[in-house]
């Protein structure tokens, strides 16, 4: 049995929200979260706004400080204790763990060509030695993300939302990461483009052996893409189960309410609003 890629125990992230020296107020955005992400898994994290799902993702990327508990990363080649990273560790970890953002309109610099956007992480991390090598790598990853190679010289404004999201994905995958966090990466897209991006992520995961943490508020999207689902509420994990099990037989009241609130495509089957809480 191989070790999981990510393992956390009682992971907490607290933010200071003002107060004086002796009665500092803090907000526990992530509260004692213990879970594992197996290698090669596609794990969905769902929850409403404010449930801590984005903060959990950021903590696992070391983008916010972990204030309590344990978190480990182990991809078989290297291991990191995410609560205690040296600058050298962090540099190596940045190559192995990447993030795809929600809004493809805000995430891409309007002043850089698509080629430069995808090449930037390679150049910043010093992963390629020559311009030719960088170009070759950019073309390879752009092809995998089904981008038209003739488009590499254009600027992002020339692209639709779906194409931009493919550019963001190519940039995230340029450094050949092992772990990718996609934070609401289809929330801003139309349904037909959403289907295209979800299919692309699934096929990239298989081809490149990636491990995905897929953060979303949309349960039906998660149901179709992820093999394991974690439900968060108020910074805690309420329920965690394989996708089929969770949707067929939710154990917790909160998960049941969440599922009942999804609007059904059948006009005769009314969705139910949970009791006002």
């Amino acid at each position: 049995m191989t070790k999981p890629l990510i393992r956390t125990k009682d992971l907490s992230v607290e933010f200071s929200i003002g107060g004086k020296i002796f009665n500092k107020k803090t907000l526990k955005a992530v509260n004692d979260v213990s879970f594992e992400i197996p290698r090669g898994a596609f794990v969905g994290v769902v929850g409403e706004s404010g449930s801590g799902k984005t903060t959990l993702g950021r903590a696992l990327l070391n983008a916010v400080d972990i204030t309590g508990g344990e978190a480990e990363y182990d991809d078989g080649e290297v291991q990191f204790d995410l609560t205690n990273m040296s600058p050298g560790d962090l540099k190596e970890y940045r190559r192995r763990a990447q993030l795809i953002f929600q809004d493809p309109y805000a995430a891409l610099s309007p002043r850089m060509t698509v080629r430069d956007i995808i090449a930037e992480p390679l150049e910043v991390m010093g992963l390629t030695k020559s311009r030719e090598e960088t170009d070759a790598r950019v073309r390879e990853i752009a092809g995998k993300c089904r981008l038209n190679l003739e488009h590499l010289r254009r600027y992002p404004h020339a692209f639709s939302g779906g194409q931009r999201q493919r550019i963001s994905i190519a940039r995230a995958l340029a450094s050949n990461p092992r772990f990718v966090i996609a934070d609401e990466c289809v929330a801003a897209l139309d349904v037909s483009i959403q289907a295209d991006i979800l299919n692309l992520l699934k096929s990239l995961q298989k081809d490149l052996g990636l491990t995905f943490m897929f953060i979303s508020h949309d349960l039906s999207v998660v149901a179709h893409t992820c093999d394991h689902v974690v439900v968060m509420y108020h910074g805690k994990i309420v329920e965690s189960a394989p996708t089929r099990e969770l949707f067929a037989n939710p154990q917790q009241e909160y998960t049941r309410n969440l599922l009942a609130a999804i609007p059904s495509l059948d006009p005769d089957q009314k969705s139910r609003a949970p009791a006002v809480g």
Binding site: Q163, L198, L219, V221, A223, H224, F247, P267, D268
Partner: protein, 332 residues
């Protein structure tokens, strides 16, 4: 007797690159107490259509010369396209027609209390005095299910949660007792549980006030839950329209089928998600014939749809699709 009749609505925008067509020959009508869903992807012209009903489009808008929008009010019909002066337009801007926007945070002024914004519009559109306006506003906040309405009345938008803000927005839109409510993606920015509450609320309000609602959304399931009839738009044209059950259960147009096949459904987790092939063309390169033909996987090369624009043909009672009559599927 219908509440609003839209006939041959065409909207173009003057831009540096030339005239861009946003809405192309759109017609529909709505009865009082009826909810119509306007569905489409970004760029389909659904918001521009709705804004035309209030003449809210930007200054560079050119309306087609045979576009007619007629609003039937108690004291006679109003020709919306003929309204010129801002004072005349008050009847469609917040008077007989109200609009709810997608982002409730962006649609409330941040430096005014919720209450003062509600009172302000009542003073403009009704003959109430300040006291009456305040009482009605608090009553409306209560009606949409906001607890402690008198306290919320004195608060600012940032002090309310997302769902509460959208409720306050609905309370404000309904306080002038509009005949027609336009809701532009009112639940898109909300969590599912809050969305379900807002949809419940809107269903209740229709039966209580009997107003007509035009519900703009990209989400077919939201339409299934709220609307009586639906119009599916693509690149400024209505490709299919009809009673919501008929359109969703037996879609006649390939585009509607494409949208449904791309939708992740909870009742069948194994169903593959099928994207519609191709990308939405640039508005400057509108396809000839049927606007959807370059992306329609069901068409053979050289078909009529590449050059001729299909009419809206009735496929079942009240259910229309942009198909040539010979392509109308026969009913089982």
């Amino acid at each position: 007797m219908s509440l609003i009749d839209v006939k041959n609505l065409t909207v173009q925008f003057k831009t540096d690159e030339g005239l861009v067509t946003a809405v192309d020959d759109v017609s529909f009508s709505l009865k009082p107490g009826e909810v119509m869903g306007l569905v489409g992807e970004s760029g389909s012209g659904k918001s521009v259509t709705a804004k035309s009903l209030m003449k809210l489009n930007a200054r560079n808008t050119v309306y087609g010369s045979d576009s007619r929008i007629t609003l039937h009010l108690d004291d006679g019909p109003v020709d919306v396209m003929g309204l010129k002066r801002p004072r005349d337009m008050q009847v469609v801007r917040g008077g007989a027609v109200s609009m709810i926007f997608q982002e409730p945070m962006a649609s409330f002024a941040p430096a005014m209390t919720i209450g003062s914004q509600m009172v302000e519009q009542l003073l403009i559109h009704t003959n109430m005095n300040k006291k009456q306006a305040k009482d009605l506003s608090i009553e409306m906040l209560d009606r949409v299910g906001i607890l402690d309405p008198a306290i919320r009345f004195g608060q600012y938008a940032f002090e309310l949660s997302g769902g509460m803000r959208q409720r306050a927005m609905i309370a404000m839109a309904l306080s002038t007792k509009p005949k027609l409510l336009i809701a532009d993606e009112p639940t898109t920015a909300l969590d599912v549980t809050i969305q379900a509450q807002v949809l419940d609320l809107m269903r209740d309000l229709v039966s209580e006030f009997g107003m007509g609602i035009i519900f703009i959304t990209h989400d077919l399931s939201v339409v299934a839950q709220t609307a009586d009839k639906v119009a599916v738009m693509y690149l400024g044209r209505i490709l299919e329209s009809g009673p919501v059950r008929d359109v969703i259960r037996t879609p006649a147009h390939a585009y509607t089928r494409g949208l449904l096949n791309a939708l992740p459904r909870l009742d069948d987790l194994d169903a593959p998600l099928t994207p519609i092939p191709g990308d939405i063309p640039s508005p400057l390169e509108r396809p000839n014939g049927c606007v959807f033909h370059p992306r329609n996987p069901e068409l053979q090369p050289g078909s009529r749809y590449e050059t001729e624009r299909p009419p809206l043909t009735e496929v079942s009672p009240g259910h229309f699709a942009a198909l040539f009559p010979e392509d109308v599927p026969s009913l089982p």
